[in-house]
């Protein structure tokens, strides 16, 4: 039991935290709901901004797990806080007790069908950014619903983000650059196609992002139209009519596209909500978990011995999740090695 930690969630945050702690001699148990580790990142083809293969990143992180005891295909049914230790009750692995908990239950993608006026689930040629990633890795590649090469593609930013009508006021942070990345991937695949991104702002906040946007315009001729999609309709041939305002000319604009990609935002995962409920963790109005102090104690939950890592605290890129998970692991280790006094 001594120096033992249970990590809940086996996405990149959970893997990274588990690897850091087990590499430093702690007894780590990693619980994952799915049968394999990697979370959402394992469903992605390539990562922004350098188009690194997502699977390579997961492989690298997993290789560090060392002595970590991995329990996959396992759900958490309850957590008992004994003050000096925690018992996690599971459906397939019985109850597990450890001195500390590290929560890394992550996010989910916004369900595009909620935004009904965008036609997802109604029109066959409206797909999500996640489905686009799947298509990239599929044998058939990126095609329209009737198996044709798309000549004109629309990419819609902020689907489920910055939108009070779906209850999400916040920016999902990673979609802008994902849209630029996917636009470039489309142009590489189909150099004769026209790609249009519809955006409100392009939030190219991190290193190399603005350069990627520049490359999309200058090298690939991707067009950017500033205006939020209002609604879609379907033409008789299955192509999609999009209607926006071109806010830079101040005129309503419509056009047909063969394929429409919705850049779906980030929402707290159901698992994050459930674990927060079991432990009594504080969540914000957006449903993400609040740490004790976002500046100085961002991995502390407010419950001594319970630490937070990754996108359960809000939208985050792969790079920042990995850094955050290492910070959470170090904080948990400091707490254990100082006889549970530091960084509670």
């Amino acid at each position: 039991m001594e120096n033992s930690v249970i990590v809940i969630g086996g996405g990149i945050a959970g893997i990274t935290a588990a690897a850091t702690m087990s590499g430093n001699g702690l007894k780590v148990t990693l619980i994952e709901r799915n049968n394999k580790l990697g979370g959402h990142v394992s469903e992605w083809s390539r990562l922004f901004p350098d188009r690194r293969k997502a699977s390579e990143v997961i492989d690298y992180l997993e290789a560090g797990l060392g002595e970590t005891k991995i329990i996959s295909g396992c759900s958490v049914n309850g957590i008992i806080n004994h003050d000096n230790s925690f018992t996690v009750l599971t459906d397939t692995a019985g109850s597990i007790t450890a001195e500390a908990l590290l929560i890394a239950t992550g996010f989910d993608l916004f369900r595009a069908a909620i935004k009904e006026e965008y036609g997802y689930g109604i029109y066959n040629n409206v797909i999500t950014s996640a489905e686009f990633e799947e298509m990239l890795d599929s044998r058939a590649g990126v095609l329209t619903a009737n198996g044709r090469v798309p000549k004109r593609i629309g990419v819609i930013h902020c689907v489920g983000s910055r939108d009070e009508k779906v209850g999400n006021l916040y920016c999902s942070k990673v979609c802008c650059v994902t849209g630029v990345k996917q636009a470039i991937e489309l142009k590489e695949m189909y150099p004769d196609s026209e790609v249009y991104c519809f955006y409100m702002d392009l939030r190219m906040f991190d290193r190399h992002f603005e350069e990627l946007y520049y490359e999309a315009q200058q090298k690939w001729g991707v067009s950017f139209i500033r205006g939020r999609l209002s609604e879609c309709a379907e033409n008789a041939d299955g192509s999609i009519v999009v209607k926006t305002e071109d806010t830079l000319t101040g005129k309503p604009l419509k056009m047909s596209v063969d394929l429409l990609i919705l850049l779906v935002g980030i929402v707290p995962s159901p698992g994050t909500g459930r674990i927060a409920g079991m432990l009594g963790l504080k969540t914000g109005e957006d449903g993400f978990i609040n740490s004790v102090d976002a500046h100085t104690m961002d991995n502390s939950s407010g419950i001594p011995g319970v630490f937070l890592a990754g996108a359960l605290k809000g939208p985050a890129s792969v790079n920042s999740v990995i850094a955050d998970a290492r910070a959470a692991a170090v904080q948990a280790m400091a707490w254990l090695s100082t006889n549970k006094t530091v960084n509670a």
């Binding site: 249009y196 315009q217 001729g221 830079l248 005129k251 309503p252 604009l253 056009m255």
Partner: protein
């Protein structure tokens, strides 16, 4: 014409399925730098002509890129070729050359 007591409003909508892309294609063949515009409006803010007339250089070149060329000939005459737009552009768009090329496009295409 027979007066039925009503008129039909002209559609203001930009229809990218029917845009007139001849002018922008002509310009891009000479100077493709307009591709990297980020719509910031620096060019319009500094524009000498725009400070005294309703000329809006950013809106004009954005409209041309959308295939909306209705006002092109009338608007482009307001430019005084001072080149300040090009000096302030944060992306380095060669806007003066774009205007010159648009004038050539008008000569060629009518």
């Amino acid at each position: 014409m027979l007066d039925f007591g009503y008129t039909i409003s002209i559609d203001r909508q930009i229809d990218l399925d029917r845009g007139d892309m001849r002018y922008i294609e002509f310009v891009k063949a000479i100077d493709p730098s307009l591709d990297i515009c980020i719509g910031c409006g620096s060019c319009t803010a500094t524009c000498t002509a725009g400070n005294f007339t309703d000329f809006n250089i950013r809106r004009l070149h954005t409209s041309i890129r959308r295939g909306d060329t209705k006002s092109l000939k009338q608007e482009i005459r307001k430019c005084m070729f001072c080149g300040k737009c090009q000096l302030v552009c944060p992306r380095g768009v060669n806007l003066r050359n774009v205007i010159l090329s648009l004038n050539q496009a008008i000569e060629r295409l009518g």
